[in-house]
Subunit: 328 residues, 2 copies
Amino acid sequence: MGSDLAPEPEIEGALAALSDIPELRLTLVGQQDKLRAALKGRGGDRISITHAPEVITMDDSPLRAVRQKKNASMLVALRLLKKGEADGFVTAGNTGAMMIASRTVLRSIEGVARSALCQLLPALGKPALLLDLGANVDCTAMHLCQFAEMGMVYAQDVLGRDNPRVGLLNIGSEQLKGTDLVKEVHQRLSQAEHINFVGNVEPKSVYKGEADVVVCDGYIGNFVLKTSEAAALHIATQVRYQMSQDLISKIGGLLSLGAMKRLKKTIDPNEYLGAPLLGVRGIVIKQHGGTNALGITNALHGAVRAVNSNVTDHIRDGIAEMRSPQLN
Amino acid sequence: MGSDLAPEPEIEGALAALSDIPELRLTLVGQQDKLRAALKGRGGDRISITHAPEVITMDDSPLRAVRQKKNASMLVALRLLKKGEADGFVTAGNTGAMMIASRTVLRSIEGVARSALCQLLPALGKPALLLDLGANVDCTAMHLCQFAEMGMVYAQDVLGRDNPRVGLLNIGSEQLKGTDLVKEVHQRLSQAEHINFVGNVEPKSVYKGEADVVVCDGYIGNFVLKTSEAAALHIATQVRYQMSQDLISKIGGLLSLGAMKRLKKTIDPNEYLGAPLLGVRGIVIKQHGGTNALGITNALHGAVRAVNSNVTDHIRDGIAEMRSPQLN
């Protein structure tokens, strides 16, 4: 029930994922009348409905909504995970509510001080995984080191990156720039032998593809992600606008349609696997609220890969191993 | 001596500005042998050279460089301002050194607690003025309110905006989102009757042109600016790349050259007036290190406009007037 156009993108995306992935079984959680009506004549034997009468909207205060709407689809779905009746959860709903509900219902993996929301940013070569995006301002050095560990595991397990390069987001590339927190984290990650730490990375280095995993506190991360999305959208809009200004440009624009489609594919969030919340006991993937069916299908692919590769167990093991003096 | 290709962009840009602006007189400050050689046969009677033997490089530590290189071009130039022998100063050199040197030599305008570095961000309609970009992390609510005042004055005087809309940079548009600092500033600016405060603005609202002036702390501001530049460059590079992938796209690309040129004009920093450091006693404009001659010419235009419109006096008056209880 979470996306702006729910439940249509969810249902269409779910059906496409079922046809892509033979071993997948899906439970749609939400208002059963709506879901049944929308699913009528389209469902198969691998899709079922679990009723949840309430809906958390994008305008709800996350904390209040999680406390008061006990039977919202998000909470009902997370309880299925908790009981072992589901292996992963995909939602396009309220991000804050998703994080609070996941932490409350599933709890953190042993040793994880704070779960982290991650997202892929477009970059030359392969996209970079940015975390945390959880909008928390009070991150400690230990939190950021754990983000590095969790991001590394996800990049290996789900993105298939070999020995992923981990960078620390900073304004300047010199070690001395940045806050005391960033300097402290830089020192700790430099000393962590199992982490392929490539040092400080600026936004332009991220776009150049110089790191697989980019670590930052959730407040900065949010600004970087939102600025990045806004700038890309602005440029794309300007390209279209300028190409509509005269006949030659219009013809140029028509001939460039294929090129523009390929470009869109590299920056469209619906082409990505969704944003995993790493560090909770279960696979939780957030897709953006404006998702289309493709975005839901891709988020489901991401969830299946995360389940199949045991990313949760690997995070638990990684966090346990990193409890050496220099990382805590 | 400051830009990456100094002194050529400075000299070519200076000569172009002299031909644009009849009342302009310029002093080139730097190593006189180099400047004389580069200027030979090109100069006129409105351009002179003041010798400065030392150069602050991009790799210098700003604080140490300002303390130790007393005869660097930047410091010599600022002393000309201090003595009243120049009305404005344009540099493409080390940003940190420029800020420290300006504050040390010129000092702050009476009542200004912290000077702020501003830059124009591309946006629909007219670009938005973002400040502070000074990389300071410890901004108070009073600092941010003063940034709003100074940005408003600059937008009126130099950018010619009437009753400029002032926004507060935030992740969400709701008043309740953000840090305690942001909430406090939101409340104060809402109560300031002489400021046309439009509330919180997200990066996407900035790009949509919903504010003329966007206030934030210098640490966030730097991330937003650098991410914005990196994202724009990435998309522009990707457009070129995709248009080179097949014959049809190549022809489309050729026909779209005019459109692309117009697009580049809207995002090329050389097309803007440079980044003013507001709040010091004098006009100081920073152009980016990779500037070309056009960037220098435009920064000189910005400096002339700032001098002619008395922006420094107006900031002093504005800061004095805003000493009401709710703004301090």
